[in-house]
């Protein structure tokens, strides 16, 4: 058994962690910046209030700007966090009106403040501060000159506020993560429950049990269960076929063995050497047939249990057919029949195949035709086709078989209700196995007006060495 390489749970957890970490980082950065912004928004109001209060007190009594610094403005600036407060007032002609610190105010900042009130961060005295600047128009009897008014304070309260806001969002986020983790945990447990049920059901099955699984599973798993059930059905069919084969084989072997027993028993009751001799001849024939039967069974089993094809190579099918036809024509068995060969395809016909298997196939087909046709029948081995496919066929003008037996002829021990031959009933089964090994099936059909036709289609292939046939 393969060691489990991945765990669903672990993978889900990993994904969750990656997503939460990535998303969390982004969210926390966003939360931090928006917390700072919110704190600044809230506290910039104080800057505005303070600077408006100061602007209100600005006066030009004798052509010179003067200001009685309003105490409340500084208290507003200081806020309840007791910030350090800064202010800086300058007339547009460059004369400083009053200031309590050398604020880092640049020409660019002043130019901007001339347009509209500005709020910005700066560093003063090594400390980050928040500044607000605005231009105030003030009228006097002698002069009318705008004044730039800058106020600022340290960021202690803003930092506290931002930290507070950030802590709240971070806490919310952490709670969300925990809830999600719990939900995912529960979901994972629930989702995997059908899998566990299936495992339980499979574990409880006995080896020979192959009835379909009856399980209530989600739609996504239904397919898996159906596939399993199909597998069980296949197993069942296979097993049935095997059992039938064994039963048939036993039966087939039992008949000749019973014949041998009765023949030998009969001979043993006699003292006549002639009778003995006759019995021995019978025994010899019967043993020969039985041995052949056993050989065919063996070959069928072997064909069905052979591994994948590895000896397939291009071979000239027409040449092979000619060889075998000549071979059969010389045999004793063919004296009563008329065996012919019809090559009606562009020769040579190259197909991919195992030479021994195709030879066995042809032999079985011809042997079969000889056995199941009356003497004098005409048997034709034909090869027809075009540039891509060829059809190998054997045709006779014998009695044929009844329609309902046609499909079963390729099963082992199926003789089409014919008991009058010594055939084992395995010939077509073997041939079909070989056809399957070559990616084809045997097709059995009756001919008109009479006779039987067995054929299979094979794809042509490139001739070896690349020379086109």
């Amino acid at each position: 058994m393969m060691p489990p390489r991945t765990s669903l749970k672990r993978r889900l957890t990993l994904w969750l962690v990656v997503i939460v970490a990535g998303l969390g980082t982004l969210l926390l950065i966003e939360a931090y910046t928006s917390a700072r912004k919110a704190a600044d928004r809230a506290m910039d109001g104080q800057l505005e209030a303070a600077s408006l209060t100061i602007a209100e007190s600005l006066q030009w009594p004798e052509g010179n700007p003067t200001l009685e610094m309003p105490a409340s403005a500084l208290q507003i600036l200081a806020t309840r966090w007791q910030e350090r407060v800064f202010y800086w007032l300058q007339a547009d002609n460059g004369t400083t009106i009053t200031q309590n610190a050398d604020l880092p105010i640049t020409a660019a900042m002043r130019a901007e403040a001339r347009q509209h009130p500005v709020y910005l961060d700066a560093i003063h005295d090594g400390q980050p501060i928040r500044l607000s600047g605005r231009e105030v128009d003030s009228a006097g009897w002698d002069t009318q000159e705008p004044v730039q008014l800058w106020v600022g304070h340290t960021r202690h309260g803003r930092d506290l506020l931002a930290r507070e806001l950030f802590r709240k969002s971070a806490t919310r986020f952490a709670a969300m993560v925990l809830i999600t983790a719990a939900l995912v945990g529960i979901a994972m447990h629930t989702m995997l429950a059908p899998l566990r049920r299936l495992r339980q059901a499979l574990r409880e099955r006995r080896a020979e049990e192959n009835s379909p699984l009856m399980l209530d599973v989600p739609r996504e798993m239904q397919e898996l269960v159906e596939t399993l059930n199909r597998l069980f059905a296949d197993q069942r069919h296979h097993r049935d076929a095997l059992l039938r084969f064994i039963a048939d084989a036993s039966h087939q072997l039992k008949t000749p063995l019973a014949g041998l027993q009765s023949t030998s028993e009969l001979a043993l009751t006699s003292n006549e050497p002639g009778v003995w001799h006759q019995a021995l001849v019978t025994v010899h024939d019967s043993a020969g047939r039985t041995s052949r039967l056993a050989g065919q069974m063996l070959s069928l089993t072997r064909l069905q249990h052979l591994g994948p094809l590895h000896e397939r190579q291009p071979l000239a099918l027409d040449r092979l057919m000619r060889e075998i036809t000549v071979d059969w024509a010389d045999r004793q068995d063919s004296r009563d029949h008329d065996l012919g060969l019809a090559i009606e395809a562009p020769a040579p016909v190259w197909v991919e195949g195992e030479s021994w298997a195709l030879r066995e196939l042809l032999n079985n087909l011809i042997d079969n035709a000889f056995r199941y046709t009356p003497p004098g029948s005409e048997i034709t081995l034909a090869l027809r086709g075009d540039d891509a496919w060829v059809t190998l066929a054997i045709e006779d003008d014998g009695p044929g078989v009844d329609a309902e037996s046609l499909d079963r002829l390729t099963r082992p021990f199926e003789r089409g209700h014919r008991q009058d031959t010594h055939g084992s009933g395995l010939g077509l089964a073997i041939a079909d196995s070989i056809a399957v090994r070559h990616g084809s099936r045997l097709q059995v059909s009756n001919r008109t007006p009479r006779g039987l036709r067995v054929c299979l289609r094979l794809p042509r292939c490139q001739p070896p060495g690349g020379s086109a046939g």
Partner: protein, 351 residues
């Protein structure tokens, strides 16, 4: 010649250093305090601190408020601890980043209304009072409120002409703060100033000078004296009566902080913590007239006892950013301008 002199000096210096480092611990543990607080008044506190920390070499420099402010801003030789009664200036020093926060349990427990940014601490509770000579009472009803004072100045101007004394807002930071605060509470303060001007008020830089003048007989009536000094003075000068105004009485607080660039920050923090501690405040309440701020201290001079005696019309000068407005040069100028104007506004009486 000069080279040899330098060599000699260098040798001398290194010898001194060598002796200093190998000698007693006194050398390292110096503590420089720049204070606008009479040494003789605060001496019991200093003595107690010195007794608890014999290794510390206490360098207490008693100066005027404005001089203390100047020294605290001198980057060349920063003091360790700055104490002053000029509250706005102390707050401005803190606002300019000259103070460092005090991280001590005493500082954390200190009442919020008596500290700023955990850097500057008001550690005394000194009422601002009126004082008059006993013989004044034989000529007129003695003043108990600000209104009484105004009435006296108006009605008995001939008697009081040249015999009234008060703080100079120009020469004293405390005086300036007190008049600013008076003017903040009610605009009628200006009437009082104008009346004092009409009575040819004399302006002194310290409470001490005012008390001396009263005892000499130069002055009959003093306004805005520091109660701490006046009460001690009155104990030995029975002809001087100290009156805590019955309508409202300002309360001034001495403020102390550890300087940002304190050369001996640890010792400095220990000293300020001592000032705020129960023991330090206990000495303050028992052996000085400075009045302890803490509620848990018992003694003749405590804020609580003072409240019990004079009622709840004590108005401590608030320790917050509003004080910073007082040190704004423009505001100070405009205040002093108005001060001068108000002093002259009433025609002196016909001779």
């Amino acid at each position: 010649m000069t080279g040899r002199l330098h060599f000699g000096l260098g040798l001398l210096v290194s010898l001194c250093l060598g002796v200093g480092s190998s000698g007693a611990a006194r050398g390292d543990q110096r503590l420089v305090i720049e204070a606008a607080l009479d040494r003789q008044i605060v001496e019991p506190v200093l003595a107690a601190f010195a007794a608890e920390n014999p290794q510390i070499d206490l360098d207490y420099r008693d100066r005027s408020t404005l001089e203390v402010d100047r020294r605290a801003r001198d980057p060349e030789s920063p003091p360790d601890v700055v104490i002053s009664s000029a509250m706005p200036w102390q707050l401005a020093l803190s606002n300019d980043g000259m103070a460092q926060p005090l991280d001590a349990p005493e500082a954390d427990q200190w009442p919020a209304w008596a500290k700023w940014r955990n850097e500057v601490f008001g550690f005394t509770f000194e009422p601002v009072v009126m004082a008059y000579r006993l013989e004044l009472a034989s000529h007129m009803p003695p003043p108990e409120t600000h209104r009484d004072l105004l009435d006296l100045l108006t009605r008995y101007r001939q008697w009081l002409d040249g015999r009234v004394v008060s703080y100079s807002p120009r020469k004293s930071g405390v005086g300036y703060t007190l008049f600013q605060q008076d003017a903040r509470y009610t605009p009628r303060a200006w009437d009082l100033i104008a009346a004092m001007g009409a009575a040819n008020v004399d302006l002194e830089a310290t409470t001490q000078r005012m008390l001396e003048g009263l005892s000499d007989g130069r002055y009959w009536l003093g306004y805005n004296l520091l109660g701490s000094y006046a009460m001690v003075w009155a104990q030995t000068h029975p002809d001087i009566i100290v009156q805590v105004p019955n309508d409202y009485s300002l309360v001034m607080m001495r403020m102390a902080f550890v300087h940002r660039d304190a050369p001996h920050p640890e010792v400095a923090k220990r000293f300020v913590s001592f000032l705020l501690s129960q023991r330090g405040q206990h000495i303050l309440a028992g052996q000085t007239p400075l009045f302890s701020v803490r509620d848990d201290v018992i003694g003749p001079y405590t804020a609580q006892r003072l409240r019990d005696q004079v009622g709840d019309h004590l108005y401590p000068i608030p320790i917050n950013a509003t004080l910073l407005a007082f040190v704004d040069p423009l505001r100070r100028q405009s205040f002093l301008r108005r001060w001068d104007r108000e002093l002259q506004i009433l025609e002196p009486p016909e001779p």
